[in-house]
Symmetry: C2
Subunit: 307 residues, 2 copies
């Protein structure tokens, strides 16, 4: 393995905040995103175009994009937003969102419970959005959620992941994020699935998303890197959490991932000192995030040594 | 990779307690060891035959072995103790210690600071002990400490590790534990070194020891497993800690390692419910250990699901 470059997409302002008990104001969300931009995080998931009644934490995402365009003219971060369906796509188009994210779960039970559709219908809806996106020149990626395990159906077959990935790529998705939505994957199965994915698809179009629910977040990132993956979701300060495991950690923390891959010799372009400031802000704003497991060491040693 | 069996050596009662601020009584140490025996941990590092003035936490290790022999007649755990030199070996022989552990650090600076000897002299002393052990039929393994990085000399060359390992195996060490003493290794270099070791030595004689200082403990365990290693040190509740990183975690927690490898399909023979009880006891006795990162999930979900 020759360490080269790894791209980090911070999902804290969306996947993170959406799962925090405290609702942040639009200005607080903007300050967190600005802190991530300052730290030169290359990709940031800013919000979601979902019903504000169903997900109050993501209300006003359209205004947030307008504010970001006005206040952060010279930033180099790519901003994205979650879109659940065609209506979300249209709202995101109006808000001039540079990158949109669709989500398809692997299991019928999960899809039926979450969006009252079968997996087949969910893929169809996504294909329609991708078709519209192609026409209008929009950049849309897609998440394959619960890619290793579903809380209702258990282990997911790799064939389901291959099939959904193939359909979404053919329909025009710019990349596919293989997501361990509930933090149930172990590094052995992460490595096996991502090696199989790498033999079927273009690695430059693949990304991974892990939770630290069972403390295996970094091990899973490393297992995916071993298989050739070079783009990862992570969440500042470990913002997020999993409804299935209160008390356990949420998304794998951005500062932990960046530290590990930098130590392994990969470049990320991220400023660690400013990233830790963003983590402090996330902890302060939410009052519940605890920060990555490596944060004490980064603050006490890594930043002092490299200063 | 075909998951088979992984052997866990819990070093909490020695490496763990030695680095805790609170001194435990002999009875408290015995109760922790008994809890690990109850959980069917196959190997347990019980204490050290070192100067009680220099290391008061390990005073009375000889009595501890006598108590263990008297109180735990039918246990299946292999008890070990650290021996720094020939005097330690003789004390351990008198105490009928089934497995003894020597330690050689890779760097001259570390050896000079710790034991006022060069690496060459430290290897010589260890060879003398191994010679005596052979004559007297004792089982002695050896640690190669600071195998990836030394706090004084930085990165350590793989050749140093190969050379020390070769000399100690030839002198009769039953196995070699490659130790990331200061928690500075990353999974890429763990995988590289252990793959190189596996091509030179018998994997069944190799073991690894990791700290979670930079949150990479489990990633490093997985990286070593990928290289074929099947025996690991770990410390109950993450007891331990590193003098170079206060506030950061200590040894990788036994419950985290056992959970990860069991999820990967490996057998360990360990009873997870009783292991969590041992972790609770370690936390209660020391007042400073925090438990493994996966402990909340294990307690709230894993044990409930499998109950």
């Amino acid at each position: 393995m020759h360490p080269d470059h790894i791209t980090i997409n911070d999902v804290g302002p969306r996947d993170g905040l959406q799962n925090q008990p405290k609702l942040l104001s639009k200005d607080q969300r903007l300050s967190l995103i600005s802190a991530l931009v300052d730290a030169k995080v290359p990709e940031i998931e800013v919000g979601a175009f979902v019903s504000p009644k169903a997900v109050p934490a993501m209300a006003g995402t359209d205004e947030l994009f307008a504010d970001l365009a006005a206040s952060l003219k010279n930033n180099s971060s790519l901003f994205s937003a979650l879109i659940p369906n065609m209506k979300g796509f249209e709202l995101a188009m109006s808000a001039k969102v540079p990158l949109m994210s669709l989500v398809v779960a692997t299991s019928n039970t999960m899809n039926l419970k979450n969006i009252r559709m079968t997996t087949h219908d969910s893929v169809s809806v996504s294909k329609d959005v991708l078709k519209a996106a192609k026409k209008q020149g929009a950049n849309v990626q897609a998440y394959v959620a619960t890619a290793w395990a579903c809380p209702f159906e258990g282990k997911i077959s790799a064939d389901s992941v291959f099939s959904i990935t193939e359909q979404l790529l053919q329909a025009g998705a710019s990349s596919i994020v293989i997501a361990d939505t509930i933090g149930a994957a172990n590094p052995l199965e992460v490595n096996q699935l991502m090696e199989a994915m790498a033999s079927r698809f273009d690695l430059s179009q693949l990304s991974c998303h892990f939770h630290d629910t069972r403390a295996m977040g970094l091990a899973n990132v490393y297992a995916a890197i071993s298989a050739g993956v070079r783009r990862f979701d992570a969440s500042i300060a470990g913002l997020g959490g999993c409804p299935f495991a209160p008390g356990a950690s949420g998304n794998v923390a951005t500062e932990d991932v960046v530290m590990m891959v930098q130590q392994m010799g990969f470049s990320t372009g991220i400023d660690m000192a400013l990233l830790v400031k963003a983590a402090d802000l996330a902890i302060e704003l939410t009052g519940s995030a605890s920060g990555g497991n490596a944060k004490p060491w980064i603050e006490n040693y890594y930043l002092n040594e490299s200063a």
